[in-house]
Symmetry: C2
Subunit: 183 residues, 2 copies
DNA sequence: CGCTACATGTAATGAGTTACATGATTTT
DNA sequence: AAAATCATGTAACTCATTACATGTAGCG
């Protein structure tokens, strides 16, 4: 499970609560790994039981007690081993491509409009990624290895968005051109 | 669930058994939707219970009885509705990008070698997709809408492989160049 | 007075993988 | 003799989502 290792990765930089972890996820890796609080909390308990984390309870008047998790040596080793060992490539599932595959069954205009919707979404995502990219480049030099690796993940987003945008455009054109021939 | 609709999509073309469905999946959509027999069989039962399929049992001497499933009118309607209605964009998870994100924690050569592994894999996938693409173009004219939509899914594979290949190459170079600066 | 932020969880359900279980026929 | 093909499934487990449940403090 990668959630475990992502949590270990963040806690390796800084001890924090589940709530804060969620915020870290949302601020950095959300575009390729989303995690909900209802998944983070049980995972933290489990990591603690496995001896990869320790728990420090901070009693607070103002808000509920905060559970601050710290990574242990065993946790750091687990993280390191996971990072070192090559990962089996995961097959990726795309329900959208299933729809395209069976696209001949419905009116082509309905497919085109769905492609257009996705195209707009991809364009707005691309703009977001480019903005994040600019912020990284402005604030840090890429000589810092932490920054370099973070920027690589953003570059991945940019490159893949550019590729799908081109695909959406070409696909729409091809379907339009088929329509013309069928008339 | 898209598996249901993919099954309906195939059965809409031709009635068949779960085993044959698996073969169809493997021959066409495997690159963006894999399905195992242990998932196909219960899903077929469920689709039958929901009245989207009917079952015809073919008794055979040579091999176990074959259960041939046929799509019903209700099934065709369900397929059509699913194809027509826009799909919520699914967030994609990449454990590999999590590794890259935390890449600063380990020796950079270990990251580079993992990137190289993936690069080789992506190149061989690209070659496969291009071959499939050539076969489609040779055997059918793209004026046929069934063929067009199938070819679009292959084009998606080609375009996204080309994009990640470029990303792998650039990432490796950037890490190499960081190494040089750090020496 | 309601919304957001802080802070924690549980329970039910869905979707998918892996392991287990059976058995005949055909090809290597 | 072993492996692949045809043909069916069940059970256990993992991972993730959605709904449910609780409560304070501060801001507009």
């Amino acid at each position: 499970m990668s959630l475990k290792h992502a949590i270990l990765g963040f806690l390796n930089y800084k001890s924090m609560t589940g709530y804060q972890l969620k915020q870290r996820f949302d601020k950095s890796v959300r575009y390729f790994w989303n995690a909900s609080l209802s998944q983070i909390y049980p995972t933290l308990s489990q990591l603690k039981e496995d001896g990869l984390l320790t728990l420090e309870v901070k009693y607070q008047d103002s808000s509920p007690n905060a559970k601050i998790y710290h990574i242990t040596d065993k946790g750091r080793e687990e993280l390191r081993n996971w990072l070192i060992e090559p990962l089996e490539p995961q097959p990726h599932r795309s329900a959208f491509l299933i729809k395209i595959f069976f696209g001949a069954n419905i009116d082509q205009n309905l497919i085109i409009s769905q492609l257009n919707q996705r195209l707009e979404l991809a364009e707005s995502n691309l703009a977001k990624y480019q903005q994040i990219r600019n912020e990284i480049t402005e604030n840090h030099s890429l000589k810092n290895s932490f920054t370099l690796f973070e920027s690589l993940t953003v570059d991945y987003g940019i490159k893949s968005m550019e590729a799908v945008i081109a695909w959406y455009r070409e696909s729409i054109e091809k379907i339009e051109s088929l329509k013309r021939k069928e008339m």
